[in-house]
């Protein structure tokens, strides 16, 4: 899961070397924190939050396979 977010984020941003992903895994859920360069936050969120929504959707699809709930937090 962490790798998935990292893969997506690195492809979206201008500065892939500044992408940091941290995940906290519980029994039934997984929380993923994503941090990117300040200038790249907009690219990860997208117009009207569309890109962030898409990332969350894909995460939840991948999490269903593991029978878990996922939560993505984009840190400023």
């Amino acid at each position: 899961m962490e790798k998935l977010v990292k893969y997506i984020a690195e492809a979206l941003v201008d500065r892939p070397e500044e992408v940091f992903v941290k995940s906290i895994e519980g029994e039934n859920s997984i929380i993923i924190e994503l941090k990117v360069a300040p200038d790249d936050v907009g690219k990860v969120i997208g117009k009207g939050g569309q890109t962030a929504k898409a990332i969350r959707k894909i995460l939840s699809a991948a999490a269903t396979k593991l029978k878990k709930k996922s939560l993505l937090q984009i840190l400023e």
Partner: protein
């Protein structure tokens, strides 16, 4: 796919700029044309050359395939991906046994994947072709269903002149319906609603009183085909109704009834 035109000092410079901008490797592009810039037009700028750069389709296809494979691998889905280039789009078809995960409820996950893929590869460049993602022929299936619904509605509009609203859908699907029904006589289509919730209305041509009783605010934004829709603007018909009413005061009540009936019919066009 349009060529990219760029002002630069040298061909290498231009190529580097484009590669950096689009974050694609240099071998994905070829230089089609390079000529000295028109100095009178460019003014005192430092650019000496106007260079036309074209994206190589086959290289681009491989890049797209790698991206899709990478995404799916990270999701833990095993799949085969085939990419083919059509005139305006790049179709990436995924074949997998785990299709349901990738499609999601009403294709939401598939739409999300497609959105991300377009952002990842094309960024927000309008000159780049759009990538259309499909899993196990899902989109084709939905399109067939859409076609059936649209044709039924068109038939109804042809016979009764009654407009029907369709479900809100993506610009791509709306365009498909407009194009499909543009060939059918006696039927007109237009899009209404706010961004994100825009839907197609299928109506008969020259339907009287189409919008009577509709809120001015709810009138279509005429974004899809202003030329076509303008003719359908019904304001004069509204006036027409009012005029008849004032002209025939004795029958005023009858006309009122008629008007209300009309409105009720319009409010349930979906049935």
């Amino acid at each position: 796919m349009k060529d990219i035109e760029i002002n630069s000092k040298s061909e290498a410079d231009a190529l580097e700029t484009v590669c950096r901008e689009l974050r694609l490797p240099g071998e994905a592009f070829e230089i089609v044309e390079s000529k000295p810039s028109d100095s009178s037009e460019a003014g005192a700028s430092s650019a000496a050359l106007v260079i036309k750069i074209r994206l190589k389709k086959d290289v681009f296809r491989d890049i797209v395939r790698d991206r899709v494979m990478g995404l799916l691998k990270n999701m833990g889905v095993f799949a085969e991906v085939r990419v083919r280039a059509t005139e305006d789009f790049l179709n990436a078809d995924i074949y997998t046994k785990q299709g349901s995960i990738l499609i999601g409820r009403r294709g939401e996950t598939l739409d999300a994947l497609q959105h991300l893929l377009n952002r990842m590869i094309c960024r927000n460049d309008r000159d780049m072709p759009m990538i259309l993602l499909d899993v196990e022929g899902y989109r084709a299936k939905i399109q067939r269903r859409l076609k059936k619904i649209a044709l039924t509605a068109a038939e109804k509009a042809q016979k009764t002149g009654q407009p029907s609203k369709m479900e809100p859908m993506s610009p791509h699907d709306r365009k498909y319906i407009h194009k499909l029904l543009s060939e059918i006589e006696g039927v007109t289509t237009y899009s209404m609603g706010r961004e994100g919730q825009r839907y197609v209305v299928i109506a008969g041509k020259s339907t009287p009183g189409q919008f009577v009783g509709e809120d001015e605010e709810l009138l279509p934004e005429f974004l899809d085909d202003p030329a076509l829709i303008k003719r359908e603007r019904p304001l004069f018909q509204k006036k027409h109704f009012q005029n008849t009413r004032t002209k025939l005061p004795a029958n005023g009540n009858d006309m009122n009834d008629l008007l209300i009936q009309d409105n009720e019919e319009e409010k349930s066009p979906g049935n």
